[in-house]
Symmetry: C2
Subunit: 264 residues, 2 copies
C-alpha cells in the first residue's frame, strides 16, 4: 500500500512512533547469538520478535550489512523478509546518485529488498529525487538537517537546511519525508513550519543528546497524527548484551513509546 | 602503497588519465556474455583485459552491483580482485554517513573489497571525512560539484561548491580528492584555484556534454602532472554491444587517452 499509508495504519493500530535502527554491528552482538550460523540474522530476528508490537518502523542501515560482503547483503534481505508485513521498512542508505544509477539503487531497495522507504541525500539536486520517484510506490526520506556534531558545517551554510526543506516540500508528502536531527533545538520548529505535512524521520535522541520532549513539542503535526518517527538504534538493540538482550530491547522500546506518547 | 602514490605511478607508467566507470548495467550487457554463468563478471573481465594497459583507474559504481543483491556484491568483489594490482580502484558509492556507520562503509570498501579509494558525499559535514580517514591508507573523493542537470540546485546555493572545496583543501591531498563535474564551465578553473594540489575525479564528458579540451585547459595542475582522472563509463563500456565490444572499448579508451594527452 505504500509507505505513507502503511505508516498511518501502523501508527494508528499500535499507537507508537518508535523506529528501531537495526544497526546490528557484528562486533557488538551479544554472546548469546555468536554461535548461530548467522549471528546478525539470529540477533535481528530476536529483536524483531521482541519489539514488533511496539514499533512503527524498522530502519536497517546498509553499512552494517555491506561490511559483511555478500553474506551481509543476504542477511539484510532475510531481515527484511522477516519483518511483519504491516511494519514499514526504511533502508538507511543515504543514497545520492542520479539518473540510471539512482534508479538502480531504487530498484534494488524497493524491488529486491522490498523496502517501503529509503533515505536519500539530495546534494546533487532534484535529479536525485526524480530518479527515485520513477519507481512506482517508492517513498524516500531526504536529509534536511542531521544530528551529528558537524551537521552545521554545510546544512547551516546560508540556511541550506531551509532550502533543502523547501525543495522537499514541493513533492507530495505521500512520496517524500525528511530526516530532521533531534539535536537541532529551535530549528525543529522551523523545519515543521517549512514542511507542515511531511513525515519526519528523527534520529539523534538519547546518546546524541536530543530530547524526546523537545522533538515532540516542536515537530508534531498534531497530537493524534504527529507525522514523525523517532529513531533509536543502540539505545534499544544494544541496551543489554546479556542473555536477556531481547527482553531489555522490548522494555526500552515500550519506554520510548510511552515517553513519546506522554509528550504529544 | 595508497591511492595517491598508486595514481602517480600508474599515470606516469601508462601515460594515461582515463578512468573507466564499470557501470555494468545488467540489462545493457552484450549478447556475447549473456550465456555466461555470471554475465556481469564475464563482461567486466573482458573489458578489463582489453583496457587495463590504457587506463589510470577503474571506477565500479555500487548501484549496478547491489541491484543484483548478494550475487552482485560478490561480482563486485571478484571484479576488484581481477583488476591488476597496479591500477587503482575507486568504488563509486557517494557514501555520506558518520561515526561508526561511516567506518563500517570504509572498512567494507577498503578492507573487504580492497578499493584504493571511494567517493563520498560530505553534506553531513567534516564528520564524514574524519570517519573515513581513520582507516589507515584510505583515500576519498568528495563531491565538490557534479555534472548533472540539477547540480546547481544546491551546489550553487551561495557557492556551497566553493565552501565544500575549501573544506576538502584543508585535508592532505594524499588522503582526499574532489569530484568535479566536467560540465561546469568556468567553475572548473575556480575549483582548481581552490584545490591546487588535490586530484580531481571528473565525470561528465561525452554524453553529459563536458569537453575534454576545456577540462584539460581549466583543471590541469601541470602538463606533466595534471592531477586528474577523466571518467568515461557508457562511452567506453557500451560503445558497442556486438561480439566486438571489448575491442571497441579498447579503441575508445585509447581515443580518450590520446585526446586528453593532446590537450595537456
Amino acid at each position: 500500500m505504500g509507505f505513507y499509508n502503511k505508516y498511518l495504519a501502523t501508527t494508528k493500530a499500535q499507537k507508537t512512533y518508535v523506529c528501531i535502527g537495526l544497526d546490528s554491528d557484528i562486533i557488538k552482538l551479544p554472546q548469546a547469538v555468536r554461535k548461530e550460523p548467522n549471528p546478525m540474522l539470529a540477533f535481528n530476528k530476536r529483536i524483531i520478535d521482541a519489539t514488533h508490537q511496539y514499533v512503527a518502523a524498522y530502519k536497517p542501515n546498509l553499512a552494517f550489512y555491506i561490511s559483511q560482503g555478500a553474506k551481509g547483503i543476504d542477511t539484510l534481505l532475510q531481515t527484511c523478509q522477516y519483518i511483519p508485513k504491516q511494519i514499514p521498512i526504511i533502508i538507511d542508505v543515504k543514497a545520492g546518485d542520479i539518473g540510471n544509477t539512482m534508479q538502480q539503487y531504487a530498484h534494488s531497495f524497493f524491488k529486491h529488498f522490498k523496502a517501503d522507504a529509503i533515505t536519500i541525500n539530495i546534494l546533487m539536486g532534484k535529479d536525485v529525487i526524480e530518479a527515485c520517484l520513477q519507481i512506482t510506490g517508492s517513498f524516500v526520506f531526504a536529509l534536511a538537517i542531521t544530528s551529528n556534531p558537524s551537521a552545521n558545517d554545510f546544512f547551516k551554510h546560508h540556511e541550506l537546511d531551509s532550502t533543502l526543506a523547501k525543495a522537499i516540500n514541493q513533492v507530495s508528502a505521500k512520496r517524500i519525508g525528511a530526516v530532521v536531527g533531534a539535536t537541532q533545538g529551535s530549528d525543529l520548529a522551523t523545519m515543521r513550519n517549512l514542511m507542515p505535512k511531511h513525515i519526519f524521520l528523527i534520529p539523534g535522541i538519547g546518546a546524541q543528546g536530543g530530547s524526546v520532549e523537545s522533538v515532540c513539542k516542536y515537530t508534531k503535526h498534531s497530537p493524534e497524527n504527529p507525522l514523525f518517527l523517532i529513531n533509536s538504534s543502540r539505545g534499544i538493540i544494544f541496551a543489554d548484551t546479556s542473555l536477556h538482550f531481547a527482553t531489555t530491547a522490548q522494555k526500552e522500546t515500550i519506554k520510548l513509546r510511552n515517553q513519546i506518547n506522554n509528550s504529544l
